[in-house]
């Protein structure tokens, strides 16, 4: 028996593999965290505000107050994630020192660095990052992200961007898998993707890390749609606690994610849910309010 090794690529990526087929829910206090756990969430994301409130509040959105993160960690036995600003090394090290289980380097917060994402490899704690296409996905993996989520447009309750991003990534992965090796370097250049990561995708026939869908999931049917399109699981931000009946929405979204092809069941789950969160049409969103465009 030899000594243990922590923070390996395998345990960081493996942690996300254990989340597959599940729902990760945004929460802002211990009460919400309990509701999420009771409903069957696989993890909670501890935040100061859910994305739709961040949108409404404007100003600079930063890492949550440490006391909120601690409160949530104490309240539940499921993993706790928390967000840091893109490129904010110190926010990330603070969350790591608190023992948070996963860090989301997130475009939902105001970026701290407008050129560089975090170098995530030296951390023991694993990271999840957003992506809109394979270039972005591969760059994040290259920086050491152990999990991805397609971005969608956070806080809108509108699934259209999430669908676009997931379809884009899936279709580009399929292209890579069917390419000849001699075509890969030019493809890497065109996508702005590290060549080595594209090689890994070609060899494995899939992304080397788990890819959840995020940004706009508001109903059980939305969650099932993302699974149908090939997501490994879903993040639900504002969709639960901005609905009229969070408990019911949470439970139904969890079950619809597992039984995403059982349409009769999803029909049942969609009965008498009450009002979903109020959504935003993408056409009414000003370009400067688009969170998805905040990364490089």
């Amino acid at each position: 028996m030899t000594d243990r090794v922590t923070g390996t690529e395998r345990v960081k990526r493996g942690m996300a593999q254990m989340q597959k087929g599940g729902v990760i829910m945004d929460v802002v206090n211990k009460e919400q965290a309990k509701i999420a756990e009771e409903a069957g969430a696989v993890a909670v994301m501890a935040l100061e505000k859910v994305p739709s409130d961040i949108r409404a509040a404007g100003g600079v959105a930063r890492m949550a107050d440490v006391s909120i993160v601690e409160e949530v960690m104490e309240a539940v036995s499921i993993p706790v994630m928390a967000k840091v600003r893109i490129g904010h090394i110190v926010e990330a090290r603070i969350l790591e020192s608190l023992g948070v289980d996963y860090i989301d380097e997130s475009e939902v917060l105001t970026p701290a660095d407008d050129l560089f994402h975090l170098d995530k490899k030296p951390f023991t704690v694993p990271f999840v990052c957003g992506c809109r296409d394979l270039g972005e996905a591969a760059r994040r993996i290259g920086e050491g992200a152990s999990m991805l989520r397609t971005k969608g447009e956070p806080g809108t309750g509108n699934i259209v961007e999430a669908v676009r991003h997931l379809r884009e990534v899936q279709s580009q992965v399929r292209r890579i898998v069917h390419m000849n090796e001699d075509e890969l370097m030019t493809e890497a250049k065109n996508l702005g993707a590290p060549f080595e990561i594209l090689m890994q995708i070609k060899e494995a026939g899939r992304l080397p890390v788990v890819n959840f869908a995020a940004g706009g999931v508001a109903t059980p049917a939305d969650a099932a749609l993302m699974m149908e399109l090939g997501a490994d699981g879903v993040f639900v931000g504002s969709g639960i606690f901005k609905s009229k009946n969070p408990e019911k929405f949470a439970r139904s979204i969890v079950e619809a994610t597992t039984y995403y092809q059982d349409y009769q069941k999803i029909g049942e789950l969609s009965k008498d849910l009450g009002e979903a969160m109020k959504g935003i049409d993408m056409k009414t969103l000003r370009p400067e309010d688009r969170m998805q465009d905040r990364s490089f």
């Binding site: 243990r4 345990v11 254990m18 597959k20 087929g21 409903a39 069957g40 993993p79 704690v125 969890v254």
Partner: protein, 200 residues
């Protein structure tokens, strides 16, 4: 080496189901993703994968799978639980208000026994009956705090029991499905083989 072909169910509420499925395929077995109790009737063995035990438990409860899996075990059909699967198969849990437990195996489980994700680790493990060390991947892993007399301890790490067998039940606190080492799956398939031989 077991090369008969069996239908092996993988409880697919949530978790690392694909990883188990591809390992089964690599050994020439037929994986069946189980989402309802009817599907349990036609499989020779069942794997309860790693995932979030509370999530898996709630979905099992909601979809009548608790009694179904208990009946499956009573037929002496083999069940292999990894990580969350170990938690669910155990009879009781340490320091838990509301245990998530199928009450099948005579073990007491400590959930997240090795700590949070930052404490997740890889280690080379000595396993009873295996000549060479096993590359074990522990992710927010549980351990077995105590065992009943009918339980055979297969491995311990840091004086904590992390793999065990009782009759038709096999559990590991770590994740064989995240490695290329098939020895635990081979062991499980040999249990399935013994059971199937009895029927014939």
């Amino acid at each position: 080496m077991n090369r008969n072909k069996y239908r092996i169910g993988i409880l697919s509420m949530q978790g690392a189901t694909e990883e188990h499925a591809s390992q089964l395929c690599a050994l020439g077995q037929e994986p069946v993703l189980i989402k309802n109790k009817e599907m349990l009737e036609n499989v020779d063995g069942l794997i309860i994968p790693g995932g979030e035990s509370t999530t898996i438990w709630r979905l099992m409860k909601k979809n009548s799978l608790i009694e179904a899996v208990q009946q499956f075990a009573q037929l002496k059909k083999p069940i292999f639980g990894t990580c969350a699967g170990l938690v669910l198969l155990g009879k009781s849990q340490v320091e838990t208000e509301e245990p998530v437990s199928l009450k099948l195996m005579d073990i007491q489980v400590k959930r997240n026994g090795f700590g949070r994700q930052k404490d997740s680790f890889e280690a080379n493990l000595d396993v009873k009956g295996m000549k060479e060390g096993y590359p074990a991947v522990f992710i927010r892993a549980p351990y077995i705090a105590s065992v009943g007399e009918n339980v055979e301890v297969l491995a311990a790490y840091d004086n904590k029991i992390v793999a065990a067998r009782q009759d038709n039940l096999l559990v590991a606190a770590f994740h064989p499905e995240l490695t290329d080492d098939n020895r635990f799956l081979e062991l499980f398939l040999s249990m399935v083989g013994e059971k199937s031989a009895l029927i014939i």
